[in-house]
């Protein structure tokens, strides 16, 4: 397509947006609202995920050796565990380190437990982190197998809170995914409907274009540009709304974290949500307009 034709089509798209400003405003507003709800849900899921994955103690398994297990044996067990496919890292906490830590806490909390104990009764301990939180249980069960790991006396994998959080995140993902899908459909439908009205209003112009020999792309391009503009602008507005709401979402998350004694995570820069919604809006706008025009031209 020659450059002059391309410039003409951009001019036509801009003129049409100005000329049908009320229709453009309606399309833009509905897209912005739909994407704002979609973006808000997405941001909420992202924050909850962030918090969950930042809870290290909840992702660890503690394996206690028998007190009489030698250091070299403990190191051999550590190497074997390290080779398990689900394991991310293994850290040996020696009985000396554990005792020092215990004494420090004892002094800090003034419980004076260490004064009643002679010597170091603590065993060596392995702190194991897994790659996927969902595999915690399976790895812990493997470590409990006395045939495989007779040196391990007991395994602690208290991840009840994690289970609740993971279930919550799972539910949030399903509900959020469903909501996102419904909103995606609604947004696409709104743009499609708006463009259909625009096409009906412009059927005379389109008929003339067809009769003077316009190719289907010459007819489509200004309309696709319009649809993309509505989606893009709606997405940016939605992004700004979510950006403003992100503060409230973060405050809510902080309350949630402190109530459950979770490690707090910084929200980072939520500007990505604006970019994401702008791109999503533009793609939805483009896709919906291509779909509507294709159907319209097929019937014309």
């Amino acid at each position: 397509m020659p450059l002059s034709s391309l410039a003409f089509l951009f001019e036509e798209a801009a003129k049409n947006i100005r000329r049908h400003s009320l229709m453009s405003f309606a399309a833009l507003g509905t897209v912005a609202m739909s994407l704002a709800v979609f973006g808000g849900a997405l941001y909420g899921i992202y924050r909850v995920n962030q918090v969950v994955s930042a809870q290290p103690s909840q992702l660890e398994i503690l394996a206690f050796m028998h007190v009489k297990t030698r250091r070299s044996e403990a190191l051999a067990v550590m190497q074997r565990i390290q080779k398990l496919p689900s394991v991310k890292s293994v850290n040996l906490v020696t009985k000396e380190q554990a005792w020092a830590h215990f004494m420090a806490e004892d002094r800090l909390n003034k419980t004076n437990l260490t004064t009643a104990v002679t010597g170091n009764p603590l065993p060596d301990r392995l702190d194991i982190r897994v790659k996927n939180p969902h595999e915690l249980g399976a790895v812990a069960d493997q470590l409990r197998n006395q045939t495989l790991f007779p040196q391990i006396k007991s395994v602690l994998d208290d991840h009840r809170l994690l289970k609740i959080l993971l279930a919550g995140v799972g539910l949030l993902r399903v509900v959020g995914g469903l909501l996102a899908f419904l909103l995606f459909c609604a947004t696409t439908f709104i743009i499609h409907n708006t463009l259909r009205l625009t096409l009906v209003a412009r059927r005379r112009e389109i008929r003339i274009m067809q009769l003077v020999g316009a190719t289907s792309w010459f007819i489509r391009l200004p309309l696709v540009l319009e649809g993309t503009f509505h989606g893009l602008a709606g997405g940016i507005i939605a992004g700004v709304i979510v950006l403003i709401a992100a503060n409230s979402i973060s405050n809510l998350m902080s309350q949630f974290q402190s109530k459950l004694s979770l490690v707090s995570v910084s929200a980072g820069n939520p500007i990505f949500i604006v970019l994401l919604l702008a791109v999503a809006g533009a793609l939805i706008g483009m896709g919906a307009s291509l779909f509507s025009i294709r159907r319209f031209l097929a019937r014309a």
Partner: protein, 234 residues
Amino acid sequence: MIDLQHVSVAYEDTYALRDVSLSIEKGEFVFLVGASGAGKSTLIRLLYHGQLPTSGKVIVAGQRVNELRSHDVPYFRRKMGIVFQDFGLLPDKTVFENVAFALRVIGASRRDIRRQAPLILEMVGLDGRCDALPAQLSGGEQQRVAIARALVNNPPLLLADEPTGNLDPETSKGIIDLLHHINLRGTTVLVATHDQIVVDCFRRRVIELDKGHLVRDEEGGAYFNAVIQSSVPV
């Protein structure tokens, strides 16, 4: 230029055209006449791929219209200009922009548009009204803009479907005069009309349709068949 071989167009149980065969040579001026519903507009639509025949062959400018692929249709339509009774102008574009539009669509450069559009507007007698909007023009002037737009690409064929249908007799004559002038420059012109005055006045080849059948093809004919007219008691 135009060749129809045993063409029929059927709608469920009725025929808009039935076994029509005709041929129009390059450079001819032909009136297509008949009462409303005779099949004139259907025949015009067949020629620009606005409709496909149920059976038969339609050949225009050497191309078999019924065998055109959809992406070839725009390029095929650039070989002809089409004029309608309702003028088909874009109401928010000026006279110049309406004519330039046909050039824009085929990818003409700004320089070509600036050169060609004023020439064609001068030819149809509208060179002083370039900046007017269609609503500011009379019916005759609007039809002249439509003709200018149809001709700006120099097509070898001009199809006009009831071009004088919305105009008074004097203006109608002016439009047919213009079409005649265009025909003298070598463009093949086919005018579908039921305007008796203009057909009788210009006495060119007349093809008559009646209920979808071709009933007359007469060189230098009048609107009504002379035989039928002479048999009607006064």
